[in-house]
């Protein structure tokens, strides 16, 4: 990999120590993926509330529980990824507020806590101490939780932005991608969870969210893929891993197809045919593909020697 220099330089490393391989691996992919689903469901629930609150019935608790589960998957993998797991508490006792990790951890904790309360309220119903009207409480709190979901889903982008070493990860793009990942996977999950409980109109609405999220995310990836290299040599070098016969090129395109291109096409097909199973397939593919897409983007900048 010789960028920037003249061919005549013919510079080659002849002695160096072993340098670290990939640091953030699939644990972190799991983290981002699960968090997207967890927060995405909350977004979708909120949209549903605003769009057609009547369809919320029977969905509040299961959706929130699903979100809660995914948020816990996210937390578990975040925790497992720590080399000193048992010191997790340091984040709360020695917080360092310039760190997106700190901010994210606090907010995610708060978020999951609120979700827990909402679920508890819904399950315990009339025995509830907090309120006599769990549903009203739920719907009111949902606003705040949704508000919180925004930074919770974005903070990873913050971490990636603070990862100064990884030129590929830029703040505006990553936050857009994080939100889109949430809307993509959230809508997909909603479609799968909602099943027959959702009206065709609502389904179609979530289908559109899914399709548009896929489209926008795909556009951003392609923009980076095509234009990223033109601005910074490091980005160019990193993108080599997903271009041509690059190490991650196949995986990258699998991700793009499964997460974005196929779901887009399927959503379009669904809109023409109205077949629910096509929409479900789009949803499943989007969720599965997202993992791949996230993983590739997480790993490739780590392959580049920094020194």
């Amino acid at each position: 990999m010789v960028h920037e220099t003249l061919a005549a330089t013919n510079a080659v490393v002849t002695l160096d120590v072993a340098i670290p391989d990939i640091f953030w691996g699939w644990y972190v992919t799991m983290n981002m993926w699960a968090k997207s689903i967890g927060t995405g469901l909350v977004f979708m629930l909120f949209l549903l509330l605003k769009k057609n609150s009547s369809e919320m019935n029977g969905l509040r608790t299961p959706v929130m529980i699903t979100s809660f589960i995914f948020m816990n998957i996210f937390l578990i993998f975040t925790w497992l990824d720590l080399h000193q797991m048992w010191r997790m508490w340091h984040i709360f006792f020695y917080p360092h507020w310039t760190s997106a990790i700190t901010v994210g951890a606090w907010m995610a904790t708060l978020f999951v806590g609120l979700e827990f309360v909402m679920i508890a309220v819904m399950i315990r119903k009339e025995k509830c101490l907090l309120t006599k009207q769990p549903t009203a409480f739920f719907d009111k709190t949902l606003f705040w939780v949704t508000l919180l979901a925004i930074p919770v889903t974005l903070y990873t982008a913050g971490i990636m932005a603070e990862a100064t070493a990884r030129e590929l990860w830029q703040m505006p793009t990553e936050s857009a991608q994080m939100i889109l990942a949430a809307t993509l996977s959230g809508s997909a999950a909603m479609i799968l969870l909602g099943g027959s409980k959702l009206s065709d109109e609502t389904k179609s609405f979530f289908g559109s969210v899914l399709g548009l999220s896929a489209l926008m995310a795909f556009i951003i990836y392609m923009s980076e893929y095509i234009f990223g290299a033109m601005k910074a040599e490091e980005v160019a070098a990193i993108l080599h891993y997903v271009k041509g016969d690059g190490e991650y090129a196949t995986m990258f395109w699998i991700g793009q197809w499964v997460a974005y291109i196929l779901p887009m096409l399927l959503v379009a097909l669904y809109r023409v045919s109205g077949s629910n199973s096509i929409l479900s397939l789009a949803a499943i593919l989007a969720i599965a593909g997202l993992w791949v897409v996230k993983h590739v983007w997480l790993v490739i900048p780590q392959l580049l020697p920094l020194s």
Partner: protein, 1091 residues
């Protein structure tokens, strides 16, 4: 201060929000702040020093680097009774010692933790004026060598009933070993005949001390010293002997304008490596230029102003070309470029012109066309002008194969001339050790300095080491009962100095096993009347791994296994090695910080000594500990402080001699080792070294003042300082005036009655003593000057004695001028000359170079050095050569060795090819540092709970076969992460992270046959090789050696190229040149050979 720290704390606390942290913090931090304040430690010190003041060395406190990882004193304060959680403070005693990883002998300080009595680290010694407190990677690695998990913890003995090399060992004691060995030596010497005095051999590798080792065989009255030097640097030494009768040159790097390197220094390794590197850096900071002649891009070449990749072995042509131009050209002002003042006064041209017979010969050889017109200096200049005229630029381009590099030669010329007489070089290994006639490279290199006046030993130029080195380690006689040096030895050992090699620079060590096993050769010389030993009764190497580092390793194994050839053997070695696998005893002696030696490094124009010490013993003694037996103090200390039963030579030998070799004094040996103070016991380290080092007058004066109350003031001074510089700015030493009074001339510490001093026609002053003629000085402009160490007292352009000793055609710097002379002058044409390379897969193999972070076979006990190098030794091949042969990076190739004298093949090794732009076309390179092997991972010693690991961080395991004719090695398993460490467990807890396997190199030395240079005697290292892609079953690391053929190769070089002693000879060797290391009597020198 208190307030400030507190304020700092509060500032820090303001950033923490969590209440608990604050509450806990405030409480803790008061103690923290106080603990800092009550200490000498602060994050914002006023000064930052390289080393503590020497006055603080006995008691120096430093925070611990590992414990600091908890966040340092700002978070935890300094450890104290009140603040137990604080950062740990180490109570250090700094004990000076000397690095032993290469011969540079840089100063070290051992940072002994007084609470645990362990060495936390070794750093440099700022009082050592050569190394100036600095060290290279190998210096810092002394710590990991000391706490090597596979250190040999106690003396080992070959298990009774087992054969050498079977790898069965039992634990023994130093006392048992001494009594067995001592008795064998006693019984041998008791016989008292000539053979007995040739039957004990002390074989030393790089000794890193100045004379103690020599004293061992000397005091035994035997010719029994053998060194490794003929595989090391003897070629260059031969050239130096011929010019100056000195052993090596000694540059003033720091003040030079041109650093003219052939051996590497600045960036590689080289002699006195890091000291030279530092001094060269000083010169380069001032703007000095650096040129490197090397077929391989060494690190030095890679950073030099100019890299000239001559075909190896042809450098002579280039040096003679420089001389030619200097002789013929003028400078800008129209003045001669020749430094006439110097050449006229200090070169022995006068003797050449006076020797008509020799001049006739020169005409006969075609060197000159006619006899010089007269005897004047101008006639000499005319002569050399003609002599060197053939060495033109075109000739150099052709001979050195520098096509397309004319511009480099031009640049070299500019730099060389611009530097004036400030040219510093160190002619050492490189070409001179690599080639047949390599010594001529040294010879001609010096000529290029001589003509410019750069060999005058003036500021920025080059001088000779003799004046810059102090050797007193062998001279502690005053502390012994004898009180004087042992007498000269009366025998001459043909095993060390065979009659074929009378001029060999050093012992013919690399063919010792051959000589021992070459019964035909033994017969031949016995018939001619010499008493040639057919076996050795005791052979003991020290700091030497001959099996691995010599050529023809299987021959060594063969010899070492033969109990009829070597009756008893023991290796003084702290570590496992390929050699001790085949010995009877392995006696673990101490490393750099575990033994006592005086060393002296002539790395710059000054005179200095350094003192190596057993640091744990010294620390303990300073803290009040006393050994039960003062003659075994080091052993006792090492046992007490957990290092193991590690002893050292300077206590071992005196005890061995006094109590075992000659207990009753009947052999006359005891008195040289028994203490004068208490004749019932051996001499102690303080006694001996105090006496030896007291020979330095300025040191003695200083020490006597500083340590008036001590019994051994000089010893005490050196114990506390580690180094002493006796004299600085030693320039132009040959011009020093000798003291002359009305009756005597004083020279070399002796005085000669004037009427015994004779002056010859060239102004040299001669005396006769001991039945030999010596020149002691030279008259120049009515002054009596010391002169050089040669017979003529001048630099010898014409080596008269060399001509007399059968080699007249090479008695002046010379080189074949055209192809027709290659055969005629074959003794000075390399065995890997390009004319021998016919097919595209035939190459010269450069086997001679160092990696700055490895030391021969000494790095394998350091996890740190092994981690850097991974025991990796690829075969370097020029990119385009590789392309042509279809070889890619990482490919396994067979490197087949073939001899250009006998035409015999030696076998092959399978190496890993790495194409590179860093070696010249046609020349491969393969280093010798890596490719170590072992046959077992560990040995179990009966009765000892742990297995003893063998070279577990650096040597893969191999399978070996050898049947007396063919030897093979095949790798079985590489180096693995270690979980089995029992020795120094805490220090080695990271061995589970070992990530290298060491399987990328081969033991190339085993394939190489011995190539004894017909004159200098050294092994000529480079090999002609034929390469091909590896066969299907080949694995990198495989070797296949036809060592029966190798035996014939040695014989061919010996019989086809040498000019042995014959019935016309009366002496074994010219007496005026050194015959290291034991002084021999005239009787020993005398020889009579039957026709």
């Amino acid at each position: 201060m208190y307030l400030q720290s507190r304020r700092t704390f509060l500032k820090g606390a303001a950033f923490s929000v969590a209440g608990v942290a604050i509450a806990k913090g405030v409480f803790a931090t008061d103690a923290v702040a106080e603990s800092i304040e009550n200490s000498k430690f602060t994050n914002t010190p006023d000064t930052i020093s390289f080393y503590p003041n020497q006055s603080e060395w006995d008691n120096f406190q430093e925070l611990d680097g590992d414990d600091w990882k908890r966040g340092g004193i700002e978070r935890h304060g300094v450890a104290s009774a009140e603040n137990e959680d604080g950062i740990q403070v180490n109570n250090f005693m700094l004990v000076p010692t000397v690095c032993s990883n290469c011969e540079a002998g840089c100063g070290l300080t051992a940072w002994v933790n007084k609470d645990t009595m362990t060495v936390r680290k070794y750093m440099g010694n700022p009082l050592h004026t050569g190394s100036r407190g600095r060290n290279c990677a190998k210096g810092y690695a002394v710590t990991s060598q000391m706490y090597d998990p596979d250190r040999i913890p106690f003396p080992l003995k070959r298990a009774p009933g087992s054969k050498r090399g079977e790898g069965k060992w039992i634990r023994t004691t130093w006392d048992e070993a001494m009594s067995t060995i001592g008795k064998k030596m006693h019984d041998t010497l008791k016989v008292g005949d000539e053979i007995s005095k040739k039957s004990i051999m002390y074989h030393v590798g790089r000794p890193n001390e100045n004379g103690f080792g020599h004293r061992v065989p000397h005091s035994l009255g035997i010719d029994g010293y053998n060194s490794h030097t003929n595989i090391c640097s003897a070629g260059a030494r031969q050239g130096t002997i011929q010019w100056a009768n000195d052993d090596r040159n000694s540059p003033d790097w720091a003040n030079a304008e041109l650093i003219f390197l052939q051996s590497s220094h600045a960036a590689d390794a080289g002699h006195y490596f890091q000291q030279s590197a530092g001094l060269i850096a000083d010169a380069r900071k001032r703007g000095a230029k650096m040129v490197v002649l090397d077929p391989r891009m060494s690190n030095s070449a890679g950073m030099a102003d100019l890299w000239i990749p001559c075909w190896p072995g042809t450098e002579t042509a280039l040096y003679l070309y420089l001389a030619n131009r200097v002789l013929h050209e003028k400078d800008k002002n129209g003045d001669d470029l020749v430094a006439h003042d110097f050449v006229k006064e200090w070169v022995n041209w006068d003797r050449l012109l006076a020797n008509k017979e020799y001049l006739q010969k020169m005409v006969g050889y075609g060197y000159i066309s006619k006899m010089p017109a007269g005897d004047t200096y101008e006639d000499f200049i005319e002569l050399v002008k003609e002599l060197y005229a053939p060495y033109t630029k075109e000739m150099v381009i052709r001979e050195c194969k520098l096509e397309g590099m004319e511009h480099k030669l031009d640049a070299l010329w500019e730099m060389y001339i611009d530097a004036g007489d400030k040219i510093a070089t160190y002619i050492w290994r490189a070409g001179p050790i690599a080639h047949r006639g390599g010594w001529m490279i040294a010879r001609s290199a010096f000529l290029s300095l001589v003509v410019r006046g750069a060999l005058r030993g003036d500021i920025g130029g080059t001088s000779f080491h003799h004046w810059h080195e102090i050797s007193v380690a062998g001279k502690g006689d005053k502390a012994t009962v004898a009180g004087e040096r042992p007498a000269k030895v009366d025998v001459w050992n043909e095993l060390a100095w065979p009659p074929e090699y009378p001029l060999s620079s050093y012992e013919m060590s690399h063919i010792l096993p051959h000589l021992l096993m070459d019964e035909e050769w033994q017969e031949k010389w016995t018939k001619k009347g010499l008493k040639v030993p057919k076996k050795l009764s005791v052979w003991f190497p020290r700091m030497y791994n001959p099996v691995w580092i010599n050529p023809d390793g299987f021959r060594w194994i063969e010899a070492l296994k033969r109990e009829d050839k070597i009756e008893l053997s023991f290796n003084l070695s702290p570590t496992w090695s390929e050699t001790n696998w085949y010995c009877d005893y392995i006696l673990p002696v101490g490393l750099a910080g575990e033994r006592n030696d005086q060393q002296s490094t002539p790395s710059k124009p000054e005179q200095r000594i350094e003192f190596r010490q057993a640091v744990l013993r010294v620390a303990a003694e300073k803290m009040g500990w006393k050994a039960k037996d003062p003659t075994r103090a080091t052993l006792e200390a090492h046992m007490k402080y957990g290092l193991g039963e590690i002893w050292e030579e300077s206590e071992f030998f005196p005890n061995l001699m006094v109590h075992h070799v000659d207990p009753d004094g009947s052999l006359g040996i005891r008195k040289y080792w028994a203490s004068k103070k208490d004749p019932s016991r051996a001499v102690t380290v303080p006694e001996y070294f105090d006496a030896a080092m007291s020979l330095l007058p300025r040191l003695k004066e200083t020490a006597d003042k500083m340590y008036k109350d001590e019994e051994f003031p000089v010893y005490s001074y050196m114990r506390d300082h580690g180094a002493w510089t006796e004299k600085t700015n030693v320039y132009k030493p040959q011009e020093e005036e000798l003291k002359v009074d009305s009756e005597y001339v004083y020279a070399h510490g002796k005085k000669y009655a004037k009427h015994h001093v004779k002056k010859d026609q060239f102004g040299a002053l001669w005396v006769e003593h001991d039945g030999r003629k010596h020149s002691i000085g030279i008259i120049s402009d009515d002054k009596v000057l010391a002169g050089f160490h040669t017979l003529s007292k001048k630099l010898e352009f014409f080596s008269e004695w060399f001509a007399e000793w059968k080699w007249p055609e090479y008695a002046i710097p010379i080189y074949p001028r055209n192809e027709s002379e290659y055969k005629k002058m074959e003794h000075i044409v390399t065995q890997v000359h390009h004319s021998f390379m016919k097919a595209p897969n035939e190459f010269a193999l450069n086997t001679v170079f160092r990696l700055p972070y490895n030391i021969h076979t000494r790095s394998v006990n350091s996890k740190h050095l092994m981690e850097i190098s991974q025991n990796h030794n690829p075969v370097w091949i020029y990119t385009k050569d590789a392309e042509k042969l279809g070889i890619k990076r990482g490919d396994a190739i067979r490197v087949k060795v073939t001899d250009t004298v006998s035409g015999l093949d030696s076998g092959y090794f399978v190496g890993m090819a790495v194409p590179t732009e860093a070696t010249r076309p046609g020349v491969l390179a393969c280093s010798h540092h890596a490719g170590r092997w072992k046959l077992k991972d560990s040995v179990s010693v009966p009765g000892f709970e742990h297995k003893l690991g063998i070279m577990g961080v650096g040597a893969p395991r191999y399978d070996m076969t050898n049947d007396g004719k063919v030897g093979t090695l095949k790798p079985v398993e590489g180096i693995k992460p270690r979980h089995d460490v029992w020795q120094f467990k805490e220090y080695n807890k990271d061995l589970d992270n070992i990530w290298w396997d060491g399987l990328s190199g081969a033991w190339q030395n085993a394939v190489a046959p011995s190539h004894p240079d017909p004159i200098a005697g050294n092994h000529a290292w480079h090999l002609k090789v034929i390469i091909e892609k590896a066969k299907a079953d080949d694995v990198i690391g495989d070797i296949y050696v036809d060592y029966e053929n190798n035996f014939k190769v040695y014989q061919a070089w010996r019989d086809e190229l040498t000019r042995p002693l014959d019935h016309t000879d009366k002496l074994r060797r010219p007496q005026h040149i050194k015959r290291p290391a034991v002084p021999l009597s005239n009787k020993a020198y005398a020889v009579e050979i039957k026709a």
